[in-house]
Symmetry: T
Subunit: 152 residues, 12 copies
């Protein structure tokens, strides 16, 4: 599997504003900080990561399509598109990689429309409310799932 | 009407994955196969077709705007955007061409959120559950509607 | 399969009024016109058709029961019973023939209670809004499904 | 209009049990009593009446279809079918006669499922809770509507 | 019962605009016309009537309170207050007179919020869609109910 | 009570297909098998049974009307009509016999629309999910209820 | 605070009928009885009371506006207006006095529409189902709240 | 049109408390301040204004009825009655003048029951969340609509 | 603040079709007409404007992100995306500029799905139903809000 | 299977009050009477029974866990916990024994919240409305299911 | 009645934390303070009290069962179990003692799931939002109800 | 903080069955395996753990109450009680420790009633769908939150 041991870490709309946007909810770290932490953590786990953010639903879908069959798993923070996008759900269902969904805040303590995520229906696991730590825990979980699958 | 006798066949997000994605639901043919079948069928009916797919909601809207007043009708498989996009409904309402909506699977036997399509509110007719045949039947129907309109 | 190559074309309540009833919605052709067009079209496709209409829910169920195991498929326009009849759904589920549901008007642009059809949950495909053309397209689709099944 | 001055008085399921069924709700008079009162009242108003009851939804639809274009109006007590039958609504919409809906009991004081009647969407007027008097008032109203239409 | 043989005919908000307000829905007659017709009809039936209109919910309630124990019955067209006023329902429940509710238009063919009337839960009968005739039919019904009660 | 000690066992739409229809849900026995078992069981309990099936809602209502005052109780499997028929509920409410409702499958583990039965609101007891055994248990229960009533 | 130690006791529509209206639900005491009991009880607690009833929503609002800044608290039985009046809620929210809501009957055991009260969203406390005693308990509670506020 | 160039500016319940009531939501200006600003602004636009406030639903309706056919347009802040009053909607529908609805606060960011206004269904335009400025913008809009109508 | 005194005027999907699309609803002016009127009006108010339209949700989000901290306020007509886009709401919440939402038509008189706008939850004010005038009124309101903030 | 041929008969909260609690609904027999009847009936069928009642949800779960793999089936009357307990559903799903649910009263004729039982989703069959007889019928059904399973 | 003049004061889950738990909502007094105040108040009223708290639903039910027929009334603060426990409702319905429900906070101003209490359907009266005073008022009310019953 | 550095790991109903119950959903490891893995992992992180399981809602509440102020945080898998227990939410809200909720399966891909957890409203973070790994990730997250809080 050598070269395919890459994990796609994908970030939805407005996550590029992290650190400057409502820090009481989303924390003070920037997306660059999260990317750096993910890279270091992934290296320890023996993975490359492909880290992207986009405000465009279509571009997120394109990225996931390109990852199909080439990468080992996906960590996705769908942000606002998680609540409305059937198209995002569809492309994730079309993948056969393990997927972990991450939300920085605990979406279950927020407005009603934030409590439902289409992405959850395609995800193996969901982690929310743990801030940027959630990304690293998701990488840990993915590493173990991939190891089990390889060993199986 | 000569040169304007073109039909736009528009495909929404993830339909470029056809043939490799959940074949039990969507069948084994690729989108290229559908395009080819549509071109042959349209030729017999005396139409050109303009065949596109995009994962980007905005691009689908752009395509439809360009077809306004230039083409004779639209066959659209909105895929995931059919369930959530008021913007797509709006652009179709703004067209004065006949529109046929196609779904490969019978969306009424699937999850609840797939049973409602905004696009249906702008469509003349809806065909679903007949696989790639649905596209050809839609072209037949459109050809007849256009013929009636011309003759009227 | 020779003799069994018959398709049941079944019409629900009030369709016998076609041509005289709200022509803006249902068109000007009579049910006899549709029957004639279906017979000609079926003949071209190599099928016999058994064409009926009834205002009685129980009689529609009886007809479908009699077709089980004897006919090759069903084209059904359930009209008003499609929205309320679990019994009609049950008998269609009990059939192992392919079923295509047809509605003359686009039920998705009408009153809310017309947007749900129990019959759709048993149908292979659904065609609506294409007037009497819908019946012929349904025969085309059924012919192809039967051919595939035979060849398989 | 001479010969067509007939009014169809149509009674739905279980109304043949009147007088013996839950008299606290439906009163002690039989359906024959109502028929007799209607005939006498209609005679005074200068109309013939065609009075029927059936437990069969299809038969009620057949009766209404036969009245189309032949009779001057309909008084209908749809009983249980009023709450569930889109087919009954459809046939009444297909009529161009004035229609008055009658219920013996005040359906708005009973169980929730009795408060909605599809038939009301096709009726000119609705009278409920006035027992068998409701039929006579409906005939009065119909007589006046027909007189106005004739005079217009 | 002599002097108490008066019927309260009570009219809710905006009914004083009748004849000038949306005549397609409410007809061309004025409220004065209705009052006059009611007086003549009541006289024939042997009743006095007390005829009022108010745009004030509280005043309608006051009127009904004053009628308690003094009059023989109520014909009420609650207009807009019928859809929202629990207080109106309460005062009618507190009366022991027979009550007939009248609506000029068939409220069941109009917007959803017009289909529910609190007043119906207190009324003996409901008449709607028969224009100003509804008032006269209500008086007929009331006369008969009162006669039965007296005779009983 | 001698001659009236007959129990009506009534079967709704599509139950005549038993044994050939979705045996995983409905079992492999035919309706004739159930009838035979019922007859033998009733004989032991000292009852005659009147066993019928119909796909026609109106005919089921007719049968129940005829049983009123003549038979000792009803075992009814309403099948699809149980979920939609207010008319069936009405006729059962009009009976004064004890009624037991039977469903072959456990309707509470199936689709949402199968979980509500109008018939339950008129039934003394409900038995479901026990296959054809349910009929025999219903006869047992009815026998005991009738015995208690006689003894009382 | 001397002169301002007055409590407004406000009674909504139809409470002037107490004693004569549905005594099984509302008890046999009149509103004058309640007023007298309130006056005696208030005197013991060292308060004046201002006791009013109105069937007019606007008058209730006027009364509350006049009490703002002049009185020490409000006991309100909104009766029917509690269930529908946002305007009543608004005026109570605009007050800075403590408010206790009282209902004579236990509204949670009655019809669904009686279970929601807008007034509750502005009230410090709610007492229901304890008959006219509820007023006295409300005065007790108010006295203690005012004492605490004074002492604080 | 000369003398009829008057605009009715109508204010619903509790707006007389402005300036003293929850200033964080409703601002610090009084209703007199708003009236003064409206008068000055209207004068510049060449209109008289008729400015009223009432806590009585019926009085608001009376005022609107009097304006029918006499005034050129209505600016209405219905306050609490906007959320519950069908009667208010009815009287506005009966007017043929242009109507602009104003809310001081952005009702879409408040409690759910404040997000629906019956008045909006009769209004030409809606302005909310802009404080007392909303009244002046409404006058601007009305002036322009009236000018267009005159010119047409 | 000098150079930052720019207002972003942002237009959502299909607004580039204005003037040619359903003029009965949206008016006859083009988006270029609106832009011109906005520029002239802004100049009078002492502002620059940055005027854009896009059919792409992601591009609208990008534009708003770029305006953060650089511009003085936003006028946004979200068109179809207002009804479905949580991502658009999120980016507006992340801005600290005043935002005014504009709709050309009165969305409260249209289909149910057009009555809810996520954008309203982030907007200071909402103006709808006043056609292209709405943009100019929004600029007026924004100018005043900014002036107050500067002065404060 | 010898020693394991025991059936757990489990009774939920408040069933220990039987005979003294609302006899019109629940009958006059005590739980001890039911236990005795069950023991006698089970003996005839060749089973032992383990009969328990508890008001503690956790204790009911403990009992069921202990029965797993040791007993042959469960008859459970969950009483109030059936309507709210996912934990009870979970433990029953974890069992591989046949389960029959019993309710003394016909829960479908009672309050809405009594019509849904989580337990039904795990039960093979449901019997309700037949009083204490329901337990004996459940034992009959269980005996037959176990016999079939053994023989299979 | 001598010895039975005991009132059960029963407290649901987490009320043992009072004084240390969210004092802004629940106040600073401990449950021991409430018990002491209740004992003193009851003594004045001539009653013994039996005061308990439990976090176990089953134990609360056991306590209530033991009080049946032995005590004179119940004051219950069901806390969290009030919102979910049908079993608690059932045991209270099985009691024939008067029951008063108390909540420390005004549950109608809190989250939606706290606004419904099953217990209210069995309670004579409900007192909420008056802090620990609510217990004493409940004892007053109970004392008076018991006195009336004794005197009757 | 020395001795208080203990984390409560609390397991709800039926989790003691792990390994033997529906392994396709819940995995093959036993609760003892999870406990062992948690102990080893906690030791590495420098924490003691207090590990419990109970089928009794009250006992879970008792455990959490005892942990208040004594332990450093809670990892809770509420199982079935998460979906129905307001009492569990209340006790968690009363704690001031960080709480992480864990579910073995992805509850968002299961039945509708499993998608809502009251516990989530009190939890800092939620992890689901990652099997027993979820516990270890929760311990990691808790360790970091506690470290941050200590350092702050």
């Amino acid at each position: 599997m050598g070269k395919s041991a890459t994990i796609l870490v994908l970030n939805g709309p407005n996550l590029n504003l992290l650190g400057t946007r409502e820090p009481a909810i989303y924390g003070r770290g920037s997306l660059a900080d999260i990317e750096k932490a993910c890279r270091q953590h992934a290296q320890k786990l023996g993975f490359d990561i492909d880290f992207h953010q986009s405000n465009h639903e279509g571009e997120l879908i394109d990225r996931i399509q390109k990852a199909r069959g080439r990468m080992a798993g996906i960590v996705i923070n769908p942000a606002g598109y998680g609540h409305s996008s059937v198209a995002l759900l569809d492309v994730l269902l079309a993948c056969e990689m393990p997927i972990i969904e991450v939300h920085l805040s605990n979406i279950f303590r927020r407005e009603a429309f934030r409590r439902h995520s289409y992405v959850s229906e395609a995800a193996r696991g969901v982690i929310c409310g743990l801030g940027s730590r959630g990304y690293l825990l998701a990488l840990d979980a993915l590493a173990e799932i991939i190891a089990v699958a390889k060993g199986g």
